[in-house]
Amino acid sequence: MKRRKLDMAALPGRAAREVDDRLGVNTPLRSLLNKVFPDHWSFLLGEIALFSFIVLLLTGVYLTFFFEPSLTEVTYNGSYAPLRGAHMSAAYASTLDISFDVRGGLIVRQMHHWAALLFMAAIVVHMLRVFLTGAFRKPRELNWMIGYLLFWVGFLAGFTGYSIPDDGLSGTGLRIASAIMLSIPVIGSWITSSIFGGEFPGEIIISRFYIAHVLLIPALLVALISAHLGLVFKQKHTQWPGPGRTNSNVVGERMFPRYAIKQGGFFMIVFGVIALLGGLVQINPIWLFGPYEAAVVSAASQPDWYVMFLDGSTRLMPPWEINIPIGDGYVIPPLFWPTVVLPGILVVLPLAYPFIEARLNKDRRIHNLLQRPRDVPGRTALAAMAVTFWLVLTLSGANDVIADKFFISLNAMTWVGRIGLIILPPLAYYVTYRICLGLQQHDREVLAHGVETGIIRRLPNGKFVEVHQPLGPTDEHGHGTLEYVGWAVPKKMNRLGALGPAIRGFFFPIEKPVEAPVSPGHPPVEPRSERQEVGSGGSR
């Protein structure tokens, strides 16, 4: 029998055909791989959250191999000497074992926690980007809502994860959570006793939180993230306005290979940053907090940063207790307002924001082009206001640490927070609004008068004027006729290429000049002589 030659070059194509014959995936895959993504650094912020989530899944699976979600009392006998012989829950003992006896356990635990903080931080930063650029407008309102819900589901994931090691700090947090639930009028006590299976802390809460933390909430997160990404594919990514970019096209790079390679690289970087943090920076040293006992509380007991604004709102809340004289009297504790009502408002209001804005602007069009924050000063100022509000609350959540380390009275910190919470957000609104208007005006000014060249000319009448370089054709008054299109206006001569090629290189400029082309009629251009120092001519 004659041996057939194996054609290596045709092998991938043949293999693909065989796969397609059986699965019929070529057409959908082609459109997927050829999908175009616009490229801008701010579009990569959401990916930080996505990649942190992947790290969370990987490290979390490893931790479940060793964690024992049980409040059964055991006597610790592991290798951390200062707790040996102490009585504690099995959950806390197994977390100690993960930290001190499981190979690689501590770094995986720390990576898991850092990845959780990074996940939430990236969600917030990404959400700010989406808000400031108007990417939530029609048709993407639903994706904005999904993304916003992702924050709150991530919040729950973080809180349940913070609670299950059953150390002193997490027990304190759980106690506060039970107090918050108890503060809800009428149903509070029923909610608390059904979640905790009786009085706090009961014996079931760690197992319940565990199943929520490793199964229910991650499943919800995966579902929401899939929907979020699916909608990005379906509705296509937004892009900045600019040359060749319209509301009905997408200019960018194909999914495969360039975009996929870039994203793969970015995943490695995110993983690397989390691994460095997990390996070099200690987080949540549960062995110092000790096992949870009802009598134990530490100074500087804070929740993780994304919960801290609720801690702050609680600290700033005046002790206003409402007594309702029905029957034996009914009390709404002050805790109810900052920890149930405020987050309730914070959940609903941003979900409805895209519709509110569209209604106010009577805007029913479809928007695929982004807006620069300066071009929508009202929205940008609103974001600044929200960030200021959040920042005051978050700083107030750590006000005892700030007071202690910066030698400020804690009472003063509380009052600064209370007054600042009311005064600073409107101030931030006003300042941001004015800055946006100023930036807009400068853009229009450069379009009208051109770029400042730095050349000062003296007119025959003795007047000095600076020469401006118009960006395009001018009318009879010398004013530019270009319209503002919602994208960056060049404001320096370098941007116009007037001062030679821009310096290349990211961290270190590549100083070598581009070689001049050699034409056959002329000898090669001499390298330019060293620059002489510019000085007044007469001194030499």
Binding site: W41, L118, V273, I274, V281, G290, A295, M308, S409, L410
Partner: protein
């Protein structure tokens, strides 16, 4: 004083009274004289007994201080008297009386540099001590001899034999609510604070528990027995001070607040730069 006369008169008077109660009544003048003598005798006895049982009053008048306390008094009269007054009786609005605070209190306040006070403020700060160890002992001796009070056991190492496991439990129940889980201290109301335990010596921690300086409650020997105090000191000095932070840089052991700052300053900043770099390469 005529000590034998009243004694004799008393016995004679008593006997005669017993005798005469049954026979004839005494004359009025003799009864009066007997009453006066008995009163005198009783007063003398009471005064004498008081002198025997309470010698301190006389000691204050006639300087019966030990040599060390005399040295301490000399130091006191130059450095402390302005606020705490003559004989440590305190000055209204400036400094409290030191009668009964004990040597432990003096040793804590002076060896941590809190006394002499730089100025009146919410709370005295730790600073380099003004006096040497010997001088501190002399001052402590003086205040101790003035009014008594709690005293420290001998020796520098007061946690020998202490059990850090039990100490950790006691620390978390009694101390961490103000000094925080890592012993780094924490804020109290109106500019007061619980200081960091890191620079404190065994004797200073012991003295603080015993005397409750400034805002700290007193943990007397009936609240925390001496061996429990040794346990706590063992935990602070052996575990908290020597914990080598197995997880890496400890961010000041301030809990989630600095962790939140770190995730933005390190994590988000690094990754935004990475995003700028990746998006810039096209």
């Amino acid at each position: 004083m005529t000590s034998d006369t009243p004694g004799g008169a008393r016995s004679r008077g008593l006997l005669s009274r017993l005798r005469r109660a049954r026979s004839s009544p005494r004359s009025k003048a003799r009864r009066r004289l007997g009453a006066a003598v008995r009163l005198l005798a009783a007063l003398t006895l009471a005064g004498g007994a008081y002198t025997v049982f309470a010698p301190d009053l006389q000691a204050q008048e006639t300087s019966q201080l030990s040599a060390a306390a005399q040295e301490g008094k000399a130091l006191y009269d130059t450095s402390c008297v302005t606020c705490h007054g003559r004989n440590a009786q305190g000055v209204e609005g400036r400094g409290p009386s030191l009668i009964g605070v004990g040597a432990a209190s003096v040793e804590f306040q002076v060896s941590t540099g809190r006394m002499p006070l730089a100025r009146q403020e919410a709370q005295a700060e730790r600073k380099p001590p003004v006096f040497t160890d010997d001088q501190i002992q002399q001052l402590a001796q003086y205040v101790q001899e003035l009014g008594g009070g709690p005293q420290l056991p001998e020796g520098e190492n007061l946690h020998r034999g202490g059990d850090p496991v039990e100490g950790g439990r006691l620390f978390r129940i009694n101390c961490s609510s103000c000094h925080s889980f890592g012993g780094g201290g924490g804020a109290l109301s109106s500019g007061k604070f619980a200081p960091s335990l890191r620079p404190a010596t065994d004797r200073q921690i012991y003295a603080a528990m015993l005397t409750g300086p400034q805002n700290m409650p007193v943990f007397g020997d009936n609240q925390l027995r001496p061996e429990q105090k040794a346990d706590i000191i063992a935990y602070v000095q052996e575990v908290l001070a020597k914990d080598r932070d197995p997880g890496g840089f400890n961010l000041g052991r301030l809990g989630p607040s600095t962790e939140g700052v770190a995730v933005f300053l390190i994590g988000i900043v690094a990754l935004v730069f990475a995003a700028l770099w990746i998006a810039g390469k096209s």
